[in-house]
């Protein structure tokens, strides 16, 4: 057995339920740290940023599943739903920290969404994820058939907007958000298939 085969066999034997629990643990941990002073003297922004970054990381991981399988034969398809739903969990948590702890005023929240482009971009990204989270069950997959695959291509837009949101919010020239954006663009580029007939001609 090759290394990849052995990895795939091991992955198959891992149940997904405990993986969900593990995946949301960092979020819970950061919230606990925020409450107890572990996130520094200004825990609100710190928690907001940690959750946003976790959301982006899970979105990137979800995006990596298909190229990993196609290019390297590593099969993590079984975990893709989990990755997507956990990413959504972190996006919602990030949004809630922003609404409840950070901005606090309802009128201000609405003004920010409309007036601040980076918030508008983040918000649109979140809205794109909502139908995906709602249809991430077996019943929807069966019911929607081929439409489900098309619908879930919205992920690409959502992830790009997420990265853009990050690029737009930092001050000065910073490398980290650009690395996320580059990674996402690379993962999307791997999906572009050069038509075979053209290549043969």
């Amino acid at each position: 057995m090759t290394l990849v085969d052995r990895f795939n066999a091991a992955a198959r034997s891992v149940p997904t339920a405990p993986v969900y629990a593990l995946a949301v643990l960092p979020g819970v941990w950061f919230f606990y740290l925020g409450l107890t002073g572990g996130l520094g003297v200004e825990p609100i922004k710190a928690l907001e940023h940690k959750l946003g970054e976790l959301a982006l990381q899970f979105l990137v991981a979800g995006l990596a599943v298909t190229p990993l399988r196609r290019q390297l034969g590593v099969n993590l398809l079984k975990f893709r739903r989990m990755l997507g739903l956990v990413a959504f969990f972190y996006v919602v948590a990030h949004l809630l920290v922003w609404l409840v702890l950070d901005v606090q005023l309802l009128g201000q929240i609405w003004a920010d969404i409309l007036k601040r482009p980076y918030i508008t971009v983040g918000m649109v990204g979140f809205l794109l994820l909502v139908p995906l989270a709602l249809t991430s069950n077996n019943w929807s997959v069966r019911k929607l058939g081929p439409t489900w695959r098309k619908l879930h291509k919205l992920t690409y837009g959502a992830v790009l907007l997420g990265a853009l949101h990050y690029v737009m919010l930092v001050k000065g020239f910073q490398i980290e958000p650009l690395m996320y954006l580059a990674t996402i663009l690379a993962l999307l580029a791997l999906r572009v298939r050069i038509p075979l007939r053209k290549a043969a001609a």
Binding site: G37, G40, E42, I44, Q104, R116, Y118, K171, G172, F173
Partner: protein
């Protein structure tokens, strides 16, 4: 040294912390009743109460991009920087240009305590008990010439000891500037200490500018050069993004940053459930500094 009135009050003379917290709860309650937007001047004064933040808050949460863009990076990497010996080059339109050794400057300055509100452009705020001397006194040492209209400042740029300065986050070295009348204003100080101790490197050792009615980034750290000019000097954040950061950058709750509101701020130290408080015009120093900007359109000159 100028023979003016010297403040002898210290942070110990300010309202005890426990009493202050009680008062803050009352204010928070009032804000909850929807009084937040029609706060009376007296209440605004209260909201901007001058109880200093703790030493830890002031020294562990810093924007000093030469050490990294994270708030904790400056404290983490500060010990890599050597600050002795230190000289400040004072040049331009001055009678006595030259390299002024830090110790030489200190031997001629009268250090006093100034408890100031500190408002970051990112909409958080602190109260800091600075120790320092008036910039006017330092400028008098060099003798400002007749044609001087502006004062330009420069931060040390030493990438081998400042890990963040190895990345092009900003166009290094960090530079700032003030109009001469702003620089000579008695509220404008060069800080050399906090809580009576030497100012830590992450806060801008050995000496930094503090202009309490402007956003924090105007208060340039670890100053190595002061130049009196007749032209408005370039400033780092304005060079990086002119639509977001103007030359004046006075704290103004009615002029928003394009990416966030400046109407309110979060005082550091309130934990995960800290309430925002209304931002005061000129950061609460309107009485003292409004005259500097009489007749100016503060929306155009943000």
């Amino acid at each position: 040294m100028a023979g003016r009135w010297i403040n002898k009050l210290t942070h110990a003379d300010v309202t005890p912390e426990a009493a202050f917290l009680n008062r803050r709860q009352i204010i928070a309650g009032a804000a909850g009743l929807g009084l937040g937007t029609m706060i009376s001047p007296a209440m605004a004064q209260e909201a901007g109460d001058l109880t200093p933040n703790t030493w830890e808050e002031i020294t562990q949460y810093n924007n000093y991009y030469e050490f990294g863009t994270g708030k904790e990076d400056p404290a983490k990497y500060a010990d890599q920087l050597t600050i002795a010996p230190w000289t400040v080059k004072i040049d331009g339109l001055v009678d006595r240009p030259g390299d002024y050794a830090f110790d030489e400057i200190m031997s001629q300055m009268t250090v006093e305590e100034r408890i100031y509100r500190f408002r970051c452009v990112e909409a958080w705020s602190m109260v800091v008990p600075w120790n320092g001397f008036e910039l006017a006194d330092l400028l008098a040492l060099a003798g400002v010439q007749e044609g001087g209209k502006y004062v330009a400042f420069e931060t040390l740029h030493r990438p081998e000891e400042m890990p963040g300065a190895r990345y092009p986050v900003l166009d290094w070295p960090y530079v700032e500037g003030l109009r001469l009348d702003e620089a000579l204003h008695p509220l404008t100080i060069m800080a050399t200490g906090i809580y009576g101790r030497d100012i830590p490197i992450q806060n801008g050792a050995p000496l930094r500018l503090v202009v309490p009615w402007k956003y924090g980034f105007k208060s340039i750290k670890s100053v190595v050069r002061i130049t009196v000019t007749d032209d408005e000097p370039p400033t780092s954040w304005n060079k990086a993004n002119a639509s977001e950061y103007g030359f004046y950058s006075n704290v103004n709750p009615t002029v928003d940053h394009p990416r966030w509101t400046q109407a309110s701020e979060r005082p550091i130290g309130g934990g995960l459930f800290a309430k925002r408080q209304p931002t005061l015009m000129f950061n609460g120093y309107e009485t003292e500094v409004a005259a500097l900007y009489e007749g100016m359109d503060l929306k155009a000159n943000f």
